[in-house]
Symmetry: C2
């Protein structure tokens, strides 16, 4: 690989001159600049990013910490982050934390050791992360609400999402609702649940709350079996997320329950496969890819010390009407 010295020799200038051209600092005569750039092209010179980063105290690596890339929610998020930072010449170091605080903190340390200049983290414990005193900006994703307006974060309006799921269900005449409560330690799950509760508690319907500890298919399948035993006449289920909704749909179809004519179902997230199911799943869409992009945009501003009007970014949710819900009857 050509070095900066090779370029200097080829262009008949000093190393300092090449350096000024590279970094666009100081004065360089146009002709000299042209000659240097030509030499770089001819020699296929590529700056050693690590040496540059030590010299300028400026690397182009960003760390992304997700619970688990195999959970269908997270690839879109990762893609949004990567697409945005790629445009600005940054690259992504990535880790799976498995919601394990020790593993998260370990990743944050190794990110730092690798000269990462900013982190995006979907952690359940923002406070523990902040306490690491990493001396670099962090943007939290999907995991904080409006508790602390000063902690940079990007999230969707989960409470609104829960309200929307419940009100769309109400419009469609289910009277014996099941509301599935997601993992208690996840803020977004709590918000969704409370939003749905806002609507259901003041509506004229019976409803049943089913708790879950995780968002996994296996647990949801088990809970669905329980549900159809204890509340067989349920006619409308508001699931904690799409994976859970998928398990419920699976169990309902297995029992010959007609969806949506006997049982309506609304999920949450709008992961890609929700559209592929049969019947395709009605759900509340979180703009996951956009969340990734916005987190990346916010982080890049923080890294460059640019002015930021608002450090929390809330993205809107929307109801995606597919075929696990009936059409709204406008005559009723």
């Amino acid at each position: 690989m050509a070095t900066i010295k090779d370029v200097a020799i080829a262009a008949k200038v000093s190393v300092a001159t090449v350096s000024r051209v590279l970094n666009e600092t100081g004065y360089v005569h146009e002709d000299t600049k042209t000659r240097v750039i030509k030499a770089m092209k001819t020699l296929n010179y590529r700056p050693n990013e690590v040496a540059r980063s030590l010299y300028h105290r400026e690397s182009r690596l960003i760390g992304l910490l997700l619970p688990d890339i195999t959970n269908p929610f997270f690839p879109q998020l990762a893609r949004g982050v990567e697409d945005e930072i790629h445009q600005h010449g940054f690259r992504l170091i990535f880790g799976n934390s498995d919601e394990n605080l020790e593993k998260e903190l370990d990743y944050l340390q190794t990110f730092k050791q690798n000269q990462v200049v900013g982190v995006i983290s979907a952690t359940n414990d923002p406070e523990a992360t902040i306490n690491q005193d990493l001396s670099m900006p962090i943007v939290f994703l999907d995991r904080t609400g409006d508790e602390d307006e000063h902690v940079p974060s990007v999230f969707a309006d989960s409470r609104k999402g829960g309200q929307l799921a419940a009100s769309e269900m109400m419009k469609r005449n289910s009277k014996r609702i099941t509301l599935i409560k997601g993992p208690a330690h996840l803020r977004t799950a709590k918000d969704r649940f409370n939003g749905a509760l806002d609507i259901l508690s003041s509506a004229d319907v019976d409803f049943h709350v089913l708790t879950t500890e995780t968002f996994s298919f296996q647990e949801a399948q088990q809970r669905a079996e329980d549900l159809f035993s204890i509340y067989p006449k349920t006619d409308g289920i508001i699931a904690s997320n799409d994976i859970v909704a998928t398990a419920i749909l699976h169990e309902a179809l297995k029992r010959g329950i007609q969806v949506p004519s006997d049982l309506q179902l609304i999920g949450f997230d709008d992961i890609p496969h929700s559209e592929w199911l049969f019947p395709p799943l009605s759900t509340i869409r979180q703009p996951v890819y956009e969340m990734g992009k916005e987190a990346a945009k916010l982080l890049l501003k923080l890294i460059k010390n640019e002015y930021i009007e608002k450090s929390t970014v809330q993205l809107p949710v929307s109801f995606i009407e597919r075929q696990t819900t009936r059409k709204v009857d406008n005559n009723e």
Copy 2:
């Protein structure tokens, strides 16, 4: 952050001594070593990985290049790679190439600029990658066959997988088969197709070949509509992968076709959601997570210059019997 000098002062030794303890080179008296380690712990000293990497010409970053992390096949692969390298103290820089050669080559260059010491790549053009002369080991994933025994690669036995799909279909009495041919530029798709053809061409069945250009749900949905028009009596479909199978299942159910009693369906890959579908999808399992792990193991050996018996690793495929195929009738 504490520096190596702070540790030296606290342990009352020279910086050179601390360095010897850190790198486990040269002689250090046991008591001195204990004192140095104690000082490191007390000061929470963490070596600056970048400086170490320049000094030792040894970084701990690995680059992973995938077409698109949002394709349900790739998160498991990424997870397998990351889990393996994490154990050995390595971290992952990750990029989406979108099957675009220019984007791939650009990533490879920036990986190199960031002192990545090895790369795992699911590229469609291994030759172009090798020609980059990156001076670091590369392991190819899922994208090469046995054409070149010397190119380090990990892949599943796709041809066997195609044969398996076709023979399992044959055992179950479908007589009017549709074989879906995956993207022509993907080696694994060609191998699957040819494997199925090995079996179908010598069997006593009618069969129809349906071509596709991608593995996308949207295209498959369109092709499924075409198929049910031109070959409405097809009673057994061998899909090019699970996403395509999902679209076919969706279209079949929409038309009221009974699966599996009137139409059997076999996919390929065994992505997580195949089990969640209703009816759950019979398919050929590629051990995706294990492929990621094996690629990482192979790369780590190459990085450490260890002896490698065989630089190509082929993993076995298996038939996963679910409910889009009928039970084998042992009396026939």
